[in-house]
Symmetry: C2
Subunit: 478 residues, 2 copies
């Protein structure tokens, strides 16, 4: 409790009851100096500043220093007042930054007020969700409820799946690829070059051979190139990362064609597919024309982020895989006292409760309705941009609108657009309303008329990124 | 917002404004069926139950199912009422479980009420803390403030360190060992057999050669055995995990002796030390007699958990390493658009604010006071157990009290004691008061007199685990 760590009455009572401290723990034996605070000399300041070049904008210069409390802080209340003012300012900036947010696929439209009375418990789902731990302050009962829901969505029976709630999409990919490697220790990892960077990070971490596969203009994996690459490594099993929505273009790899390519080229029963469904893993099941992600097909694992389409105040994700793979994995870890099939040990116990709450409120029908709204609004954005003469691409069944990168970095930052080369994207999530899009479009068109006035410069050509048909630069405009 | 996802006025307004939905997204093209719910047959039920043997107590049987809302739920309010009752029951159990908690080193004594108004923001510190991201709803300014504080504690200059706030102690170990492997790609990993399981998990994940080193009875690394193992692998550099408080016995490896052993056996400038300070990393600096963890010694990285001694509602940790190592690491990841030196991509942005808040409130002096209290209370517990004739060990400078495993598993579960073989431990954290210990001791002594009455059975000998001097079994009792 706040205040109880000082010399409150509780403390005094204990002190009376406690035995005298053994000599070696006497206060005089405690380190009494606060570590020396260092002030940079001019040369050091220069050296430190030069770090910016290496590391990007140096956050030290704007960081909120932790200050050692003064002895009388508890009396004067100065410290509390200082902290309250910092937090109030921060909250204001969060409100503004949340309002102007288009580039990241996070659904910011949630209200977890009903859960606020749980926020101050230290909830930790240590290790495996299906194995009881002696630590009692956990939320496994919520976690398994959520996992069951996703297993049902992806059509894997309760007695055939294993999974857990992860800290983020990256952890899902790290886990799926690790399971693949344990199933096929000498397997080669294949992933399209537009896969999330965590896939390549996994290859490096796990010391796996990794082959990058080319993509189509849409961002989907190019299965002709995939075939060619497979044939170069015929003797080794294949571990494939399939994107259910790439990060930049929202492209959905054709799962069926990937499986067909594998089976037709001699890899039958010698492949493991991990589906990275960070964003669209939860959207696609609700759209009929989308390639279906289901464990009725020969896939090994699926991961999806919880803070994206569902919406959650902290990053989290869901990982579902086949129980048989996990049993194989865990038989190999006999040196561990307990089964340890998760990447992280201690796991955030609040995230499952947030997810459970939202799934219960919305249900499959509620998500279907939201998917519909997002797709509709994404088309609205695409059409308005096109009308205004701006190069734009929207993949079928995606809510990620890719368009010409705005010339002004302040504008990019203001709207928190994710950019790559000459393209930017906006991800239309349930919290992105037509009003918000109109606000964005109004600002963009106003600024753009200034950026490109009097023909001094012209908008970039992005035909290479979005295809000639979507490019409206001076060369490709019809 | 709650309610806004239905057919509220906002939704209707949008629908009026929006263009008609392209044909392929018409509602009739949406998947309309809820995935079929499966009911187990008797055979399947048996099969499912048999899973318990493989996976431990099957949480499915007690999990909180996610139920599809009925169409009229929003009208009747039944759904809200159901969820509220589940959450209220859960909260009551959390209060009870939090009260009876001795076995895990989590400080449950915190009050973050002042931060409750930030809980509903989706705060995400994507990637590197020192590189700005376009996602604006972050808390890097708090994160770097916290990192600076820890770098100062462990004596590494601002312009020489790199670090980030992790999801848990495991992520810290995974990171530290990965940095070690990148510095010495053919290095052999050495860790005492009482190291945290995540260290051996890392070796497996990273495909590193790993050598287990014996321990002393105290749980510390046995440097004679370490030397012998080193000499068997003379040609390869050494990567060493040094425990600043082992999980089970709270033993602190002798960092100075480890370094001396390395240097005297031909490993000078050919080793990388990662210090796993999960719990004691934050306690040791405040105790004079403890081996000092400092970057003035040739160590490469230190990790500590945030939800342990500091106290935080969700698992988190702090990782500090030398900037030079990270620059080496990042020069190798040129295939990434951005620098990516963290294990996870999306990172919980709430944890840094919790830590920043507590560090500011308590400061170095506040932590020193709490360390003192914990050590004193741990000695109190040890002395009371010994007086009662119970085998017990308390490592010098540790607050982890190791004692004879209580015979009754319900008692173990009730007090959430972590057990291994014949020993159990209680970790005295700031929230463990003398009152709580007296409550625990009272119950233990009462039950124990029943377990071992009439000499039918006698308490186990734990001399192998805690040494003959600490064992009070019938054979070793003097």
């Amino acid at each position: 409790m706040v205040g109880s760590m000082g010399n409150g009455s509780m403390d005094l009572r204990e002190r009376e009851k406690a035995e005298p401290l053994p000599k070696e723990f006497e206060p005089k034996e405690m380190v009494d100096a606060v570590p020396p605070l260092r002030t940079d000399t001019v040369e050091e300041e220069e050296k430190r500043t030069s770090r910016e070049i290496v590391l990007g904008r140096n956050v030290h210069t704007m960081c909120l220093e932790v200050k050692e409390p003064e002895d009388d802080d508890e009396v004067t209340g100065d410290r509390e007042a200082y902290m309250a003012s910092v937090l109030a300012r921060y909250r204001r900036s969060l409100i503004d930054r949340t309002k102007h947010h288009l580039g990241y696929p996070y659904n910011l439209d949630f209200d977890y007020g009903a859960l606020s009375h749980l926020q101050h418990f230290s909830i930790n789902n240590l290790g495996d969700p299906f194995i009881e731990s002696n630590y009692g302050v956990h939320s496994r009962q919520f976690e398994v409820g959520v996992l069951d829901w996703f297993a049902r969505l992806w059509e894997l029976e309760k007695n055939e799946y294993w999974g857990y709630i992860t800290n983020c999409g990256t952890e899902g990919n790290l886990h799926g690829i690790l399971v693949g490697r344990e199933v096929f220790p000498n397997g080669v990892l294949y992933a399209s070059k537009e896969s999330h960077y965590s896939v390549f990070k996994a290859a490096r971490m796990y010391r796996m051979e990794c082959v990058k596969v080319a993509t189509l203009v849409s961002g989907e994996i190019n299965c002709a190139d995939f075939k060619a690459k497979l044939l170069q490594n015929k003797e080794k099993p294949a571990i494939i990362n399939v994107n259910i929505g790439t990060t930049v273009k929202g492209a959905v790899d054709d799962l069926d064609l990937v499986i067909q390519t594998l089976e037709e080229n001699g890899f039958k029963d010698r492949f493991y597919i991990h589906c990275d469904g960070a964003l669209f893993g939860l959207m696609m099941p609700f759209v009929k024309r989308a390639p279906k992600v289901t464990f009725k097909k020969p896939i090994g694992s699926v991961s999806v982020s919880g803070h994206k389409f569902v919406g959650c105040p902290m990053p989290c994700g869901v990982q579902i895989t086949r129980l048989e793979h996990i049993n194989a994995l865990s038989s190999n870890v006999e040196y561990l006292a307990s089964r340890d099939a998760t990447i992280m040990g201690s796991r955030n116990g609040h995230a499952p409760i947030f997810l459970w709450y939202t799934l219960n409120r919305k249900g499959y029908r509620g998500f279907r309705k939201e998917v519909q709204k997002c797709l509709r609004n994404a088309h609205y954005l695409k059409d308005r941009l096109k009308e205004a003469g701006i190069s734009v691409m929207l993949n079928e069944l995606s809510s990620t609108v890719v368009f010409e990168r705005p010339k002004d970095e302040d504008f990019v930052r203001q709207w928190q657009l994710a950019c790559e080369g000459n393209i930017a994207h906006a991800v239309v999530m349930p919290n992105v309303t037509i009003e918000k899009l109109d606000h964005f479009l109004g600002e963009l068109l106003e600024k753009r008329s200034l950026w490109y006035q009097e023909g001094k410069s012209s908008p970039p050509c992005i035909a290479a990124e979005v295809g000639e048909i979507n490019c409206l630069c001076s060369m490709h405009k019809k």
